[in-house]
Symmetry: C2
Subunit: 362 residues, 2 copies
């Protein structure tokens, strides 16, 4: 199969570490020295060789990705002329792959998620591929472990024959707490993790049906891709494509038509959405503290500090005293301090910086 990684989005809730110029997928956040995108490709290597692995990203990140992934062929880093959301990004890769291999099955996975049980993850992808062969757009849904309000949900319908899979009845937006609790109790819902597996032919058919302008534009780009006019056509057509997500533009409409299936995933998934989410999946040391960054023991000086996430990535000593459940992130030009319970609101700080025009800190 083929693997596609749309690598966009800066991860503003992981500010000040994650920045527009150095988004979270380029950072090592898991305790070892591998970045999230490196870890993502490591996990997928057994499913697709580098020649069948594609990354779709912006011009600002192509060089960083190229250096972090030396085995990836340069031509497999597809550089968008500008950000146009996930349907054009994933569609571009699908169209290019399809032009070369009309029978291709591809999986699309985020560049910045964590998976605990990698073998179970790959088994789920293989199961999804088997369903995809039958003409479904398949999403790997995550069996929920808590009434999370930060994720979208997938309502499962009828089981699909021999597969450990169901039809998808409906995609649901991030719910309020009470609704999330109902979802969890019903046992019918999965988290939407944005992991998709399909035949490129199936996706392109759905694109033609639901987003014909996008389909036509991508077809023009793909037709010229392997010619000397490739870059020219991409630059000319790309800005005319509709800006739309794969969820809203394709999956919701396809589900209504009965063309979406889901395979449940039980492999310990985390979207590393914010500092608190990250803290919950990393191994804590003494007193429940998680310390990110190179010289751990050295740079965090703690007295009576518990269940806190400390990231002394700026190289300075971070001294904490009498604190619990707090986040302290020190970088070269900014320091963040907030309770773990407020980690989702870090985005508001980034919004404030934006409103003040302080681009250097974004």
């Amino acid at each position: 199969m083929y693997v596609v990684i749309p690598a966009g989005g800066s991860g503003t809730r992981l500010w000040p570490l994650s920045r527009a110029a150095h988004p979270k997928f380029l950072h090592a956040l898991t305790g070892d020295s591998r970045s999230l995108i490196q870890t993502t490709l490591d996990r997928l290597a057994a499913l697709a060789p580098p020649a069948r692995t594609f990354i779709v990203t912006g011009g600002a990140h192509a060089a960083g990705i190229a250096r972090q992934l030396p085995d990836l062929p340069e031509e497999n880093i597809l550089v968008e002329p500008g950000p146009r959301d996930s349907a054009p990004a994933i569609g571009l890769a699908a169209a290019i792959i399809h032009a070369r291999d009309p029978e291709a099955i591809m999986g699309s996975f985020h560049a910045d998620h964590l998976v605990r049980d990698e073998e179970a993850f790959r088994a789920a992808v293989r199961a999804a591929a088997a369903v995809a062969r039958e003409g479904y757009l398949v999403t790997i849904g995550i069996s929920p472990t808590a009434p999370e309000t930060g994720y979208g949900y997938i309502r499962q319908g009828a089981a699909l024959g021999d597969h450990d899979a169901c039809r998808v009845e409906e995609f649901k937006e991030k719910p309020p707490r009470a609704v999330a609790e109902e979802y969890l109790a019903s046992g019918r819902y999965l988290w939407n993790a944005g992991m998709f597996v399909w035949r490129t032919a199936t996706l392109l058919e759905e694109l033609a049906r639901q987003l014909p302008d996008l389909h036509a534009g991508l077809a023009r780009i793909a037709a010229d891709w392997d010619t000397p006019h490739g870059a020219e056509t991409l630059a000319a057509v790309w800005p005319t494509l509709p800006k739309v997500t794969i969820d809203h533009g394709i999956m919701e409409g396809a589900a209504a038509w009965g063309r979406v299936a889901t395979v449940p995933g039980r492999f310990g998934w985390n979207d590393v959405g914010d500092w608190d989410t990250l803290a919950r999946v990393l191994a804590a040391g003494d007193d429940g503290n998680i310390v990110l960054g190179g010289d751990r023991a050295g740079l965090h000086l703690a007295i009576e500090t518990r269940n806190s996430l400390i990231a002394p990535v700026g190289g300075r000593i971070v001294a904490t005293l009498g604190l619990e459940d707090i986040v302290v992130v020190d970088t070269a030009d900014a320091v963040l301090v907030c309770p773990r319970s407020r980690a989702q609101d870090v985005k508001k700080l980034v919004d404030a910086l934006k409103a003040q025009g302080r681009d250097a800190h974004l």
Copy 2:
């Protein structure tokens, strides 16, 4: 009169701003650009001209003091060959002044305290000088406004004739909370602020009586001070002097002999002992926050942050979200985060750094 400022001690509870190499008296902490020692001398300028103002300090701080106080004669910066506590430091200045002016009255004041009502402060010093002329060692005690456990106390005895002054019955160590409350309720106690006024002759008599070795050593140093052997004698004698504070070495014994008087001070005094103490005397802005450092509005980015002290003196953005009563100090090589209620324990962090041999951060 003469003014003597013993400028020693690094103020470890104001770490990471205050350092051994750049102690708190050299820092601007009050919101304007004047350092604490500059503010101290500004306050005393109306009582003694620069020629009658002396600073006793260590070799590491002489240059910093000289640059911050360009009007002070160089020879009035008395450099100790090594730290030997306050009795030798203050005694050295007294002996040198006395050798030149046997009728001298001198006041000794810390380099790093804050005073709100400077006119009332000077009135108290003048009142103390009048009592000192009668042969008392006079301390200016602070009328307590709260049952502080971080200060020593002075028990007032009988009133002294026409003066707004009393005999001192006893000096008391820092009390536990319950005792401090009794002191406050009794109305008989003042805070010991380490402000002394006396005739140099009176102090030297008490030195001769209570610390004869120190007296003899200082006499040898003072005798040679204005000769070509001055530095040589200082270097030879200084290391032999007893290491003792003026409170334990002189004041306690003198009080027992009835030779100490106190003048109450009501001028808004603060010893800037720790970040919380400092926060309490500075003018707070929106939401009760105090922001120290140059570009205030610019470097503190706050969402729902209240009653906190933020010192972005390292030039980085300090972003705080959902916090109350917290201290965040960002410097070039260290960041401190702690609740205001734990500000006294910052010393423990410095002790930990010392124990780890991390001298660069002390």
